[in-house]
């Protein structure tokens, strides 16, 4: 099971739409224990990228690269470095692959995760987007090593992402703005973990559609 890098910009476009649709939802979550701008930050970066993609032909890698650059160079905040490096790595590690298979995707995802960990210094349980990202990676990898196909691996990843996001609800934040709340940050989802779930879910669904030749 593979898809063509050059035909897979829809992955990035679907992702942009997902973030745009959830702008207010993400800000509302952030407003509860953070400063209420997560959806705005994300929407601004993703929409900027959308404009840069407009009317041009790009591969998936190029699309991720533009998205990473928009976040890194134009958005700032926490999301600039965190998701900026994330998408930059997805781009860097896939750009030489004409066909993307389950193994390439694992490599992509792993180096993206490592970049996020390196810059942000967050661990699992800190109530950040890593609580979505790390279990997603683990689920994908173990599905892959147990011999599941690309689409099935992605399915496991989606489930793990959702569980990961939900797990942040009971956590006390240990990093970022919400960490000053300590115990009082329990009971609400983490905004970054939520956007991260939306991102993983969107990417995975888009790839599953591509694998079925259903991408629009």
């Amino acid at each position: 099971m593979t898809f063509k890098n050059k035909d897979a910009l829809c992955i990035v476009k679907d992702l942009i739409k997902t973030i745009q649709d959830n702008k207010n939802y993400l800000s509302d979550i952030d407003g509860k224990i953070g400063d209420g701008d997560h959806g705005i930050n994300m929407n601004k970066g993703f929409t900027l990228c959308e404009k840069r993609l407009e009317g041009k032909e790009y591969s998936m890698s190029e699309g991720f690269g533009l998205l990473g650059q928009a976040l890194l160079n134009d958005i700032g905040g926490s999301m600039g470095p965190l998701y900026g490096l994330f998408f930059d790595e997805l781009a860097r590690t896939s750009q030489k692959s004409e066909d993307i298979d389950a193994n390439v995707f694992e490599k992509m995802f792993r180096s993206a995760l490592e970049a996020v960990q390196e810059i942000g210094n967050a661990k699992k349980g800190d109530k950040t987007l890593l609580d979505t990202l790390i279990p997603s990676m683990e689920a994908y990898s173990s599905a892959l090593s147990s011999g599941k196909d690309f689409s099935a691996c992605l399915e496991d990843m989606k489930i793990a992402a959702e569980d990961g996001m939900q797990s942040t609800k009971d956590m006390a934040a240990r990093i970022g703005r919400a960490s000053r709340l300590g115990e009082r940050s329990r009971g609400v989802l983490d905004a970054g973990a939520t956007s991260c779930y939306l991102i993983i879910n969107s990417i995975a669904c888009s790839i599953q559609n591509l694998l079925k030749n259903l991408c629009n």
Binding site: S27, D35, D37, G76, G80, P81, G120, R180, R184
Partner: protein, 332 residues
């Protein structure tokens, strides 16, 4: 919404245009539209002073660009760290070969973006060191000081660092003085009404009528307690009760007091609080060497105040007394 804006997604851009036009005798734009610099920067033979942070804190951060203050500022979106590229460009714009001190506040985004900017600067051979302000005593216990937010105390850190640099200090000397400034500084805030990020269009937290939030953060981060609203005198006492034991400040100490409004609180009310702060401090034989009262570090249209105390030694006293010329702080 009674905001006076155009497109809510471009308030920062519009504000910067107006700011540059009004203060072109002091500040200058750079190739990066999100970086402003002192018009004389890089100042030959001087360590560059850089700061940066999210917008919505006027006069912070760009209002502290000027003589004996900051040389360049990286500008972020409302309540959002500037990009790594902006920090990097700010650093480059004011390096005169003596290195650059990046003096900023302790927020996750700023920490990450400064880290990336420093990597880029290092690749260019620019020597950069940082001081991370963490003066907000209400934002974490004293044994977790590394988690505390930087708030209005940053103004005093810039004042001290800027003065030390203007004296010709080396990068290490500037860093040491700035670090000493913030290590001897404690702040706390009280919020009485929330603020609205223009692009969000409604307050992203609530403070009920007739209540106040003690220890609130500069972006509305929840404080240590929500209480029925107190008198100005009681607020002064509550804030000092958090700040004084934390350092601790003791009889005989000389201090700088900075009392700032959060944006929509009339300056009249700030003086009413200051009156009580002075009374309590003089009762405890703590000597006010200098005071600043006004809107020095705000949070959009939030109502409330922050109180900051810095304990002085001879070096800090000398540095705080050096004249300064910036939009937010003019000292003759």
């Amino acid at each position: 919404m009674n905001r006076i804006i155009n497109d809510p997604d471009f308030v920062v851009e519009d504000m910067l245009k107006g700011f540059i036009k009004s203060h072109n005798n002091l500040v200058e734009k750079t190739d990066n539209s999100k970086v402003l610099k002192y018009k004389n920067a890089p100042v030959g033979g001087k360590v560059g002073i850089v700061t940066g942070g999210g917008s919505g804190h006027k006069p912070a951060f760009i209002g502290y660009i000027g003589k004996n203050m900051c040389d360049a500022v990286a500008v972020g979106e409302i309540f959002s760290s500037p990009t790594a590229a902006a920090f990097y460009d700010a650093i480059k714009s004011c390096d005169a070969g003596k290195g650059v001190a990046c003096l900023y506040g302790n927020y996750a985004g700023d920490n990450m973006n400064v880290k990336m900017a420093m990597r880029m600067a290092k690749a260019d051979g620019i020597h950069v060191k940082t001081v991370v302000a963490n003066d907000d005593a209400a934002s974490a216990p004293i044994d977790e000081r590394e988690k505390r937010r930087g708030v209005a105390g940053e103004v005093l850190m810039w004042k001290v660092g800027g003065a030390r640099a203007s004296q010709g200090g080396t990068l290490d000397e500037v860093i040491d003085a700035s670090q000493k400034a913030i290590d001897n500084t404690r702040s706390v805030g009280i919020g009485t009404a929330p603020c609205t990020i223009p692009a969000v269009g409604h307050p992203n937290f609530t403070i009920k009528d007739n209540t106040m939030e003690l220890g609130i953060g500069h972006h509305g981060e929840p404080g240590v307690s929500v209480q029925p609203i107190k008198t100005a005198n009681e607020m002064a006492v509550q804030m000092l009760d958090i700040i004084l034991p934390d350092l601790p400040f003791a009889a005989g100490d000389e201090v700088v007091v900075l009392l700032s409004g959060l944006g929509a609180t009339p300056v009249m009310e700030q003086y009413i609080v200051y009156n009580k702060v002075e009374e309590v401090l003089s009762g405890k034989k703590i000597i006010i060497h200098r005071s600043y009262v006004g809107n020095y570090f705000t949070s959009l249209d939030m109502m409330g105040i922050t109180l900051t105390l810095m304990r002085l030694d001879d070096e800090l006293k000398e540095l705080i007394d050096i004249p300064a010329d910036s939009v937010g702080l003019k000292q003759l």
